[in-house]
Each structure stands twice: as C-alpha cells, then as structure tokens.
C-alpha cells in the first residue's frame, strides 16, 4: 500500500525540510520513496508544494489529484488551494495563519483564516488546525513551524513521533535537535 503526502505553504516557511524529514523517516523503515518540491524563483513569497510518495506502487514523483492521504498545509489559504490532491477520507493538518500577499495588500484586501478553516472542515474528512503562532511563542522560536505541524500529522497514524525524531537526528545540526524534538512533541 502506498502513502501519498502533500506539504504546501508559502516560500520560506520550511516545507522543504519537513518533506525531507518525512522521507528520511520512511526510508529508515525500509520503504521506497519518491518526492518533488518547488525551488527556484518561486522560493520566496510564492505558493510552494512538496510531494512525498512512499511505497513500491508509485511511478512519478508527483502525487496525482485525489490521491493524497494527508495534506500538511503551512498556511491556511494554501491548504484550500491544494485540497484537490486530497483523497476522500484523507486528513488535513493546517496552520491557522494566513500569510497576506503583496498583491492583496496593494488593493487593501486581507484574507480571513476562519473562512479558510471552515471551508476545509466542510470538504475534508478530518481537519486538524494548529495555532503555530502560539506554539512558536511557547517554544521560544519562530523557526519550528514545520516540526510542530509534522508532530500534529503523526496523530493521523502517518508516521510515529519516534520515527520523525530519528530522521531529524540525521538531518539537523545537533544544536537545533532538542528544540525541534520539543516542537514535534508540542
């Protein structure tokens, strides 16, 4: 049985590392993994999506629409944008925060997080909304949004916290390990 995960957000939020930790955790379990991510000019401020595919039965690095078991969104509007990837009964882990883009500020428009979350709750089977601002405040760092969200994703049975931590050990500098572990456990 293959597992498909979509990680989406706004360039600069740390989606790439989250995809790497998830992939590494699956490899450590002896799984075959394919993945793809957005890099290049869109890396800052643009919409970004990482695909992680686990299992023998996948061919391309991109998750087809309607096939994602879990959608991990670092930003509420990006969750809505990518909802077509989610399969029926799939789970959404979403950061409540909406990042306001320049195009909106220029016309004086703001996007509302509650509107995004309530839409997600209407269309997706299971939605876990995470207040990462609060989490970052409690943890004392603004750079652990990705691990807080992965920790929340482990609640769907996607992957265990211990597996994530083991993967993290291989991928981050020792001085940041403890902080990231606390974020996974948050």
């Amino acid at each position: 049985m293959s597992k498909n995960i979509i990680i989406c957000g706004v360039g600069g939020q740390g989606t790439v590392l989250a995809a790497k930790v998830l992939s590494q955790a699956a490899i450590s379990n002896g799984e075959r993994v394919l993945s793809a991510e957005t890099i290049g000019m869109a890396q800052r401020g643009g919409s970004v999506v990482s695909h992680v595919r686990i299992g023998e039965d996948v061919y391309s690095p991109l998750v087809p629409q309607g096939q994602a078991d879990v959608l991990i969104a670092f930003e509420a509007a990006e969750a809505v944008r990518n909802i077509a990837f989610l399969k029926q009964g799939g789970s959404v882990i979403v950061n409540k925060k909406v990042v306001q883009p320049v195009t909106a500020s220029l016309i004086g428009k703001t996007f509302d997080e509650n509107e995004m979350i309530s839409y997600l709750e209407k269309v997706a089977g299971k939605v876990i909304a995470v207040d990462t601002d609060q989490a970052c405040k409690d943890l004392g760092s603004s750079k652990v949004v990705n691990m807080v969200l992965l920790g929340a994703a482990s609640k769907t049975g996607l992957i265990s916290k211990d597996e994530l931590k083991a993967a993290l050990k291989l991928l981050v500098k020792p001085e940041f390990y403890e902080l990231n572990v606390r974020a996974i456990d948050y």
Partner: protein, 673 residues
C-alpha cells in the same frame, strides 16, 4: 550503504563522479544549477576540478581543452544556456573529443522558470549529438555513466537532457562509494584532428551521418533504455535482430511493467491494437495513469534515446499496431520520428499525439492529463467495438470510464477567494531600493527601463513596475542602445545583476561606448547569483574550488571600457541613490551606477549585521499606505486595526522584516520606527 533521498541533479552529479569525471564547468540556470554544487561538495574526495564559468560558451570551451587531452569532462546548463554554448558545441560535434564529454542541458516544460519551452532533443538532432533522456533520478544516475562510455567509444560529445521534474525530484537510492577521479589525460599535438578545417568537417560529416543513421539506431534498439512493456503476439521472424527485439518486447511486460498477468477488465481488451509511446517523465505519468485505471496489457514503447532514434525497435513496434498515441513534453520528437519511420517502412499505423491535438502542445503533462486522454480513447474504442457485450462486462465498464474522478474530495461548497502569490522581491531586497531610486529620480521624464534575467526581473511587478523589456541574458544593455538610437531624447536605462554582467553584459558595454550611445547602466550588485541559489562569480572573490581569489572589479572594467561617470551607491540610502541617478542620467554618453548591497539571503554570511525589525507606531500612522503602495514589500500588510479616524493602519511582519529602513524613508509622517 544505507538508502537516502537523492535529488535528480545529485544523481547526475554522482553518476558523473562515478564515471571518474576530471573537469566540470557550467553556468547556473534553474533547473540545472545543483549538479555543479553537488559535484563541488565531493570534490575533495574525488579530486575533480569544478568551476562556475562566466557563461555556457566559456564552460564548453574550458571542457573542450581537457577533453582533447583525454580527460572526462562535464558541462552543465539549462536549455537557453545551450543556445549560448551552441557555437563551440556545434563545432565540437564535428571535431569530436578524446576524453568523454557529457553536456547536461536541463529542459523546463511549463516553463516553470525559463524564457522558452525549447527542446534539447531537437538540439541533439540539429547538432548531431547522441542524446539520453532520463525518466527518474536513478535512471539519470545510470544513464550519465553510459553517456561517458558512449562519448569515448564514438569520440563525440553526448547530451543528457533531464527535465525539471527529474532534476528536482528525489528518489530513495543507495549513495554510491566515491572514488578518486581518473588520471587526467595529456594533450598530444595533432593539428589534423584538433584544428577545424573545411575539409575535415566534410569528412567528419560523412562519418557522423553513418554513425547516426545506421550504427547508433541499431545499438540503441538493443539498449536497456529503449524497450517495450506490455504484451505482443509471440511471432518469430527470420531476422535475428527482430527476434531479439520481439523477445525484449515480450520480456518487457514482466520485467519493466511488473504486469505479466493479463487483465480481463482492460477497456482496450486483448484484441486491441492501440499502443502508447513515451519518454522522460511522461513515461512515469503514463505508467501511473495506466495503473490507476487498472489497464495492464497495453504495450508501451519507452524511448530513452530520442536521438539517434532506435529505428529498428520502433519499426518492429509499429508493425503490431494500428494506432499509437505518443506522450511527451515540449516538442513532438518521438511522434515525428515514429511518423517518419512508419512512412519509410510503409507500415500502416496511425501515430497520434501533439500534431493532431490528442495531447496538449505546450506546458507540462501530468497523470491527470494523460489519464483523461486514455479514458477518452478507451471510451471510443469500447463504443466502437462492443457496446452490447460491454453491458455485462464485470470490469471497467463504460460507466466507470466515464466517471472520471472516483476518489477526489467532494467540493461541497464554493471555495473561498484565494490570494494570488506571484514570486516577489524579498523583504529587505536591495533591488527594491535601486528601482525606487531610479523611479523617483526620473519622475515625469521620457524613459525606457530595459531589464534582464535574474531576481531583478521581478522589478516588473506592481507597484514598482520598473521593467519595460526583458529578452535574454545581457540584452538589457544592448536593447537600451537600440532605443536610444531610435529616439535620442529618451532616457535609456538598463538593469543588470553582477553575475549577468560577467556572463554577457560586458560585450554590450563595449558596443555602447564604441557606437556612441547615451544610456545609464544600473548594475544591481548584490554580491552573488541570487536567483539560481547563490553561486559565486568573478566579482565575489571565491571560486567553486573554495579558493579565495582577487575580486574582479566591475567598476574598473567599466572604467577600462570608457564609461563615465561611474557612481557607486548604497540603494538603501535613498537620498544619495536618487542624486546618483540624476547625475548619471545627465551624462552625455554611457554612464553607470553600481547599486551595491548584499542579497538579503546571504547578507549575514558576508558580515552584515541585521538591524532590529521595524514597527509601525500606531499613534503616528495615518493609514495612507504609501509604504505599501510604492514599495510592495512582503513584510508590509494592511492591519485590521484602525486609527482614531477609522483609517486602517499598516503592520509589519516581524519575522520577515530585515530593518532595511526603506519604508521608514518613504513614510511621510515618520511612523515607521
């Protein structure tokens, strides 16, 4: 060794190192840039020489020298870079090489971050160079090693053409044991071989024609990169090559597709004589689509060597089918080759794809697009063949084929409005200050702003709106000359980054001074090649080998060419920057302003101390939004808070703000502190 996630570009790098590559040169370009970065990472272990050349032409020429001496060389670039390198590459095709030379030219269907959707496979046909087209990172790793072998066997450069979804995909694979690179070769003088002459080119052309039309098509037909998956009637022929091909065709069904059982519910049925062909990432999408649809016995021709085309294999394949649908991105290369072969061999097979509109002619393909096409074809097939029988069929019925999307989440209500997120200049990007200064200084004047390729192309976005033209690398300086000679009263500005200046800007400056143009060249010097991922260049004072070297001064180059005045200014000091622009624009000839401040993403690495993030003083802010409307910094947004007069205030996202102070200089009431 344990498995790990390996990026397509890393796999290409590892494959080249595994092949013992001695010298690697290239110019950064998305999606190819990481290849050189990865090779550089392992260079101390392998002893490989690696450099960022000033452009792709220079890279090809550096590599040619080492390849003539018998060393293995790799050149990396993106598809538009191949145009820059085409002069030496076309000649190298005739002269040939001694040590293996592989040219990686990464294509960008979409295009996602490119000026064109040009197809390197066509460049392979045009330049007569053999080409490999990988579908996955693992395949790219193996192909590049074989490409080096092939290059030495036939003394020719060989093209490897990955596309974005292969370059930037990751696959779990074993990290190979790396060994020292091969012993560098020694150059032996042989002017008959190494000096290109009309007579030798005539002879070489004949030799290359024989190789590409006869030898390689047969060799590639037996190669593991070109094969058929699916089932075919096990007929035997008197021709041993054909028997071998047929055997591979049948074997393909179990080894390549893992589909040795026939599926009774296949909508095309076993009597079907439709088949598919694909190459590159499109092959993966096709297999995924077939797997989702539960179709298991449609033969698929996979082409890993689009040039020279594996003709004998393709001809055998064509003979078994009435209709073949081709899935490929960019140009219809496989499709046209199949049509050509069908005509030449007089095989009655209809080839379909981009040319007849079955497959979209532009942009990326996807599992969804291919699935939809297959469903449509299957429906037509079923309706035509067995409408009556269909009603009792237990497997994929007409109805299930028509119901395109079985598992997608149901859209219960209309989705909320979503923000548009085009890429923007980062918060704290010095280019914002440079553009703004020029805009302020030139208010009300008749101007043209010629842009170039780099992060600063984003200066075209609102509210800055400071890029009137953008054509290709280095074209800003020369295009401004065209505007000036056409309308001498227009203030002609060009904007070029430091890396682009070295790549292809300098020639344009010489042309401007020599031909008496009047223009102001704005060098946006952020001390790196920012857009492709911060590669060093001649102005940065370091090489890809990690050596600290003398920085090559842009100012002195301009001075040497005869540009005057040359003013260096910090773009975050708006008063000085605006004055500099006014002064430069009044000069009679070619003037230059060097806007110098580091890219915000590397600023701290080069010793810049980050000032505190700014905040909006709610008591002072009048909600005029001048900061937002004139600068468009992503750290600024409209707040839900209002002031006493009910005007919405502005707020600053502290996690994004770098304290560059541009907004506080723009604020009319000094509310940003």
């Amino acid at each position: 060794m344990a498995k790990q996630m390996i990026m397509g570009n890393q796999a290409i790098a590892l494959g080249a190192l595994k092949a013992g590559v001695n010298l690697v040169a290239g110019y950064p370009g998305t999606p190819s840039s990481e290849i050189i970065e990865f090779i550089s990472k392992y260079k101390s272990k392998t002893g490989t020489y690696v450099e960022w050349s000033v452009n792709e032409k220079a890279a090809a020429e550096v590599a040619a020298g080492a390849s003539y001496a018998g060393s293995r060389t790799l050149i990396t670039m993106k598809q538009v870079g191949l145009n820059v390198a085409s002069d030496p590459v076309m000649c190298l095709s005739y002269v040939g090489v001694k040590g293996g030379m592989v040219i990686v030219s990464a294509d960008d269907p979409g295009p996602i971050s490119s000026q064109t959707e040009q197809d390197t496979r066509n460049f392979a046909q045009y330049s007569k160079l053999p080409c490999f087209d990988p579908s996955t990172p693992l395949e790219a790793y193996e192909m590049i090693q074989e490409a080096f072998e092939l290059s030495e066997k036939y003394n020719t450069p060989v093209l490897l053409r990955p596309t974005t979804r292969v370059d930037h995909a990751y696959e779990s694979m074993e990290f190979p044991e790396l060994v020292p690179c091969r012993k560098p070769g020694e150059f032996e003088k042989d002017s008959k071989r190494w000096v290109i002459f009309p007579r030798s080119s005539y002879n070489n052309h004949k030799r290359i024609f024989e190789r590409n039309e006869k030898v390689l098509p047969a060799e590639f037909s037996k190669s593991k990169w070109n094969y058929v998956g699916g089932s075919l009637p096990p007929l035997l022929s008197k021709d041993p090559l054909k028997n071998e091909l047929r055997q591979r065709v049948v074997l393909g069904s179990s080894t390549k597709m893992r589909t040795d059982e026939l599926c009774s519910s296949d909508p095309f049925s076993t009597t079907s004589n439709i088949a598919f062909a694909a190459g590159g990432i499109s092959y993966c999408y096709l297999m995924e689509a077939l797997s989702i649809l539960g179709i298991k016995d449609i033969p698929v021709l996979k082409i890993g060597n689009p040039y020279p085309f594996p003709k004998p294999l393709a001809e055998e394949f064509l003979k078994f089918h009435e209709q073949i649908v081709v899935f490929e991105e960019l140009d219809p290369v496989i499709e046209e080759n199949l049509i050509k072969i069908a005509g030449y061999a007089r095989v009655n097979c209809q080839i379909r794809g981009k040319l007849d509109g079955t497959v979209p002619e532009a942009g990326e393909l996807s599992v969804e697009i291919i699935k939809e096409i297959i469903q449509k074809e299957a429906l037509k097939h079923r309706e035509r063949l067995c409408e009556a029988e269909e009603r009792q069929s237990s497997g994929l019925s007409l109805a299930s084929l028509r119901a395109a999307e079985p598992r997608r989440v149901q859209d219960a209500s209309p989705a909320p409005d979503l923000p548009v997120r085009p890429p923007v200049l980062c918060a704290g990007c010095p280019h914002r200050g440079s553009f703004y200064a020029v805009k302020q200084a030139m208010k009300g004047k008749k101007t043209v702003y010629c842009g170039d390729i780099g992060c600063y192309t984003l200066g075209n976005a609102m509210p800055l709106d400071m890029t009137d033209t953008c054509l290709c690398m280095g074209a800003d300086i020369t295009m401004a000359q065209g505007f000036y000679h056409n309308e001498p009263d227009r203030h002609c500005f060009s904007f070029i980054g430091d890396s682009t200046f070295f790549a292809s800007g300098i020639t344009g400056v010489v042309n401007a001074v020599y031909n008496q143009a009047k223009q102001t060249i704005c060098i946006l010097d952020n001390s790196t090649t920012a857009m492709t991922g911060h590669q060093p260049h001649p102005g940065t004072g370091m090489t890809m080998m990690g050596e600290i070297v003398e920085k090559i001064s842009i100012e002195k180059i301009l001075e040497g060419i005869g540009v005057s005045p040359i003013i260096q200014v910090n773009p975050f000091d708006q008063k000085a920057a605006v004055e500099a622009v006014q002064k430069a624009s009044e000069a009679p000839g070619v003037s230059a302003i060097i806007f110098k401040a580091p890219c915000i993403a590397i600023a701290q690495k080069v010793g810049w101390e980050k000032p505190h993030a700014l905040t909006v003083n709610a008591d002072k802010c009048i909600g005029c939004r001048k900061c937002i409307n004139e600068l468009g910094c992503p750290a600024l947004s409209v707040s839900t808070k209002t002031n006493a007069k009910g005007k919405q205030l502005v707020e600053i996202d502290k996690s994004l703000c770098t304290g560059c102070s541009l907004c506080s200089q723009v604020c009319p009431v000094k509310a940003i502190e």
